[in-house]
Symmetry: D2
Subunit: 337 residues, 4 copies
């Protein structure tokens, strides 16, 4: 951490900075410029201390962080890529893992038909929403526990791992019983109560990036999960920007930035980012080429009658076509789907 003193800061003010650094167990080094004094705070754990600890001291102009404020998620903490096991599927290996299924589970038939189709065309994990966070209280809120149980049945019938979003710690038990992979939604990325509970549950999870979260904050949220023994797959699903033509702006560079800073696997959700079925394939193809470890794609047997997010759901034939394209791209970069 670098503490820049104001021009004309007193020796006493400088000493107070050094004293505080010592209290935290850090060394310091003084850079005395012609204009102003800069105090370097040294120690491998400076990333864990908020900058304001020094920023509040009198005579301090600014505090700049050098070490990243996350630790367990960082490539410096663990230099080998992490592979997350979901049932018998490995996320983070050479194979690009496609997770697909309906936005909301609407009926056993709808879920089963979709699961069969996507599995047949190469999906490895089945997704299905049971508890749905909806912007309006007047919208369909999901089948709830019944939906979770339907997923549990499907997974036994079809021998395929299933993933679903958890929104409330009170649903943890039923989710843990029936689901292989828990999803923490973008709106809950900083719901620390939920993070801790999921991290301790013994189940791996997908941590979606908050729609206004920086990559650094996302990795700090991963730290919450890792600190209690969690197993984490990161998922970029679009961030909020001024551009209205897509629902969110997919930050495709996040794939490269995560790989450069973290050992965790990272997947892409092209469906929520695009918000429209005609744009989903563009983003899905880009994700594979960029090096994502997987995708989370919404598919529906009849999108025009879907109870939620029909506009961003692919039809069966759209999905089959996209899988062919993605397989070709994966092969071109030395991976498989």
């Amino acid at each position: 951490m670098i503490v820049e003193m104001r021009r004309g800061a007193t020796q006493e003010q400088i000493d107070a900075v050094i004293e505080r650094a010592r209290k935290y167990g850090f060394d310091t080094q003084l850079n005395i410029g012609t204009d102003k004094v800069v105090v370097a705070i040294l120690g491998s754990d400076t990333g864990m201390v908020p900058t304001e600890v020094f920023g509040v001291l009198p005579g301090v102009e600014s505090v700049t962080r050098i070490m990243r404020p996350y630790k367990l998620a960082s490539l410096e903490f663990k230099s080998e890529p992490t592979q997350v096991q979901v049932g018998d599927v490995i996320v983070g290996g050479k194979r690009v893992i496609v997770m697909a299924g309906p936005c909301s589970i609407e009926s056993p038939e709808q879920l089963r038909a979709t699961a069969r189709h996507v599995k047949q065309h190469g999906a490895s994990i089945i997704r299905g929403g049971a508890f749905k966070p909806r912007t309006s209280p007047f919208s369909f809120q999901g089948l709830g526990e019944e939906g979770v149980r339907l997923l549990g049945q499907l997974r036994q019938e079809m021998h395929v791992p299933v993933v679903s979003e958890i929104m409330d710690v009170r649903h943890l038990d039923v989710m843990v019983e029936h689901v292989d992979l828990l999803q923490i939604g973008a709106r809950n990325m900083q719901n620390y109560t939920l993070l801790r509970a999921v991290g301790q549950s013994g189940k791996p999870c997908i941590l979606k990036r908050g729609l206004a979260a920086t990559i650094t904050e996302w990795l700090q949220a991963a730290d919450y999960l890792l600190a209690v023994g969690g197993s984490v797959i990161l998922c970029e699903r679009g961030i909020r920007t001024f551009e209205p033509s897509t629902r969110f702006t997919l930050d495709i560079a996040a794939v490269g930035v995560v790989k450069r800073n973290s050992h965790l696997p990272v997947i892409i959700d092209p469906s929520h980012a695009a918000g429209h079925y005609e744009i989903v394939p563009t983003l899905a193809r880009a994700a594979v080429a960029a090096g994502a470890d997987g995708l989370l794609i919404e598919v529906h047997p009849d999108p025009t009658n879907a109870l939620s997010d029909g506009l961003q759901s692919l039809t069966f034939s759209d999905f089959a076509r996209l899988m062919l394209e993605m397989k070709a791209i994966a092969a071109a970069i030395g991976r498989s789907i």
Copy 2:
């Protein structure tokens, strides 16, 4: 709602749009341009239906919403300004209500000293954090239930209403017992589980705007609370933008936009928006002049040793000076503090 058909859409496709509108109980009207067909979907409840219900139909180019997607929070639903009673304090009246106190409650002494000071200089409600959402799992997480009880004692001793943030539905009982006003934080604005529980609790609440939420989404979240009988004070606390010099960008126009569209009172949190004590007074003065119904300000007896957010906390003397400035501005626009 306005459904724009693609150029060359078939009669059958147009009929499907009309048919779906009828199913929802809406009337339709056809605008046949030289280029393309536009279907107007008519009815006072079209705001409650997602646009994608029509967007998914074949031959549809775009769907544009005319009616606002929130209802109970809207000025059209209730044209008189709502006043929210917190203990014996009215929020939303002529008086601008200042809520002040420490970011985190650290000890009975710290809380009591701060409360006394801010009350003496004109604050009407005491704020204090017990459960703290922190970006890093390694930061101070608040005193928890003990903090809530300290607030409860303070309120009895000093006969002043108190406000504190609720993060977990499992804390609802203890919060309801000791606190007059529940605060829903920006990160939980779309935590619908929490919204419903708070709305049903019988306590009024502050609903902070999510850091990437539009004003429309904020009012939709208010609908969740209002739909179950909740009583809501809106709070703008800065949105996330590309500008790094403040912690968030205070959207001061939100005061005017909310007043133009909703009957709910709206207050400003200059502390979290600014992130730095030197910028807080700028924003607080602007808030009063803009017409905010109140402010939520962090004050600490010794910010340089605060356990959280010391950098954005005002000292006692800073707060006293700011109150004088704000009182003068309030008087200039015909209000009081």
Copy 3:
């Protein structure tokens, strides 16, 4: 255009809206809901009229645009994809066109060596900056006219088209003489003086998206060029968001959105978006897979000693490796490089 009247708007106010529509030559249709009156303004040219023409009238609540506000750039104006000819190279065909070269031209040797290398590995057009827009007045500002002349020589020696940025209408003559393709930078996307001059010059141009421009505004800027006979290649180069880990956030979805709304070819600049050579390949691969018609890539013989943007420049060997990857991806989606 849809004009929503306020609840309780008078007949006189409604008539004023209708009257104004007539003045512009538009038809109108009244939708009388239970709550409020909505006036549909009909006509194929409503996209050309600012919404505020109606928004200012008394009794109007809101005005919503249905028709896009651009015309010549739209797919509705011209349904066949446009191919832009640059020397003997076609942009917008089946082949993905790579334009590569140094950020700034520094010397004849540096330009020639880079051009030879990138051409040999598959680049079709050579880029080189002569006039440089720099954030700081204390930075290197480019070789100016001398740089343009060096490009002109190179193009004759190597029989390859060249592209360079124009920043000032006073440079138009020298640029037109020596350069095949003019580039309008992101900061000048709405420099209408420049747009008109370039559009009239007879040379094709690259129109970079402004760093805070919506896709709609970008296509409106293209209209400025097209309206005076210009020939346009769109270039997405990253937009400004809150995420600091890359220089800009590449909006990869823009490729799909442009293809869905416009006939113009669209290319990607991964160098400026990434801002760091380790992230450039991630974005470049994604661009090809997404369906971009070309790329604009910065390459330097010795990035550590580049006079500008060295951090985002690829070395010769990095570029050669990336070209192999991109060729494989292009082949996978049925295109070539």
Copy 4:
């Protein structure tokens, strides 16, 4: 500047950083942590050197700037507030300067009537647009030179300074002849050709903040003007964010941030930020309370028939009422209008 080396960086790589620092005339100091080496680059001019000069060197992980990248605009360069003289009006003193008038000059009568009204109610400088940057090529583009001449006549008749936007260096001569204060629009904040010409013209100017420019970049642009002898008034006019309910999001905190970092006066344009006449007063009042040195407000005798930006223009009576409110607020904070 702080250069963080990668873990395991070699001595040779560290030496290359030190060597490069020396070339620029900077001292260095090594901080050897347990984990990695950090090199502090010392010297009062490090703010003038791009961080990438070090970022491109092998073994470098990141480079962090401590010194601000602007110089002449900084409070460290000049600690006394700058006052800019426009005719006989001082901007940056105790008086808050209101500049008001029509968005576009449409006729001598419209300009004169508006000028008379706003002057009578307390405006000190008359604004009027002659050259208009319009998003669509099909919109009214202003009266051009004729408009400038009308302003020149007005200023002689009424003995009041006038301000107008310059978009093209080729208009500089006519503008300098007839106008007291040149305005550089948000879209031209980084049009360096224009900045240099205006800075050398001998006329003071308003530098509007780019709609996606950070405050730091804005002050760097001011450096371009100051470096060639220009005299600068900064103007915040709203930045682009995801919020659609106002045209732009007014960054009211910018007033405080500029005052904390620069000696230049700063004014607010509430009209362009709001985009709607009902929100303009909210922002204008907030600006005065925040401490802005002036305002730039659009007023029109008949906004419903304005040729541009009528929706954000105040009527005569709206303006008169707002002036009363602003005068009261100015008095409350010890200033006048």
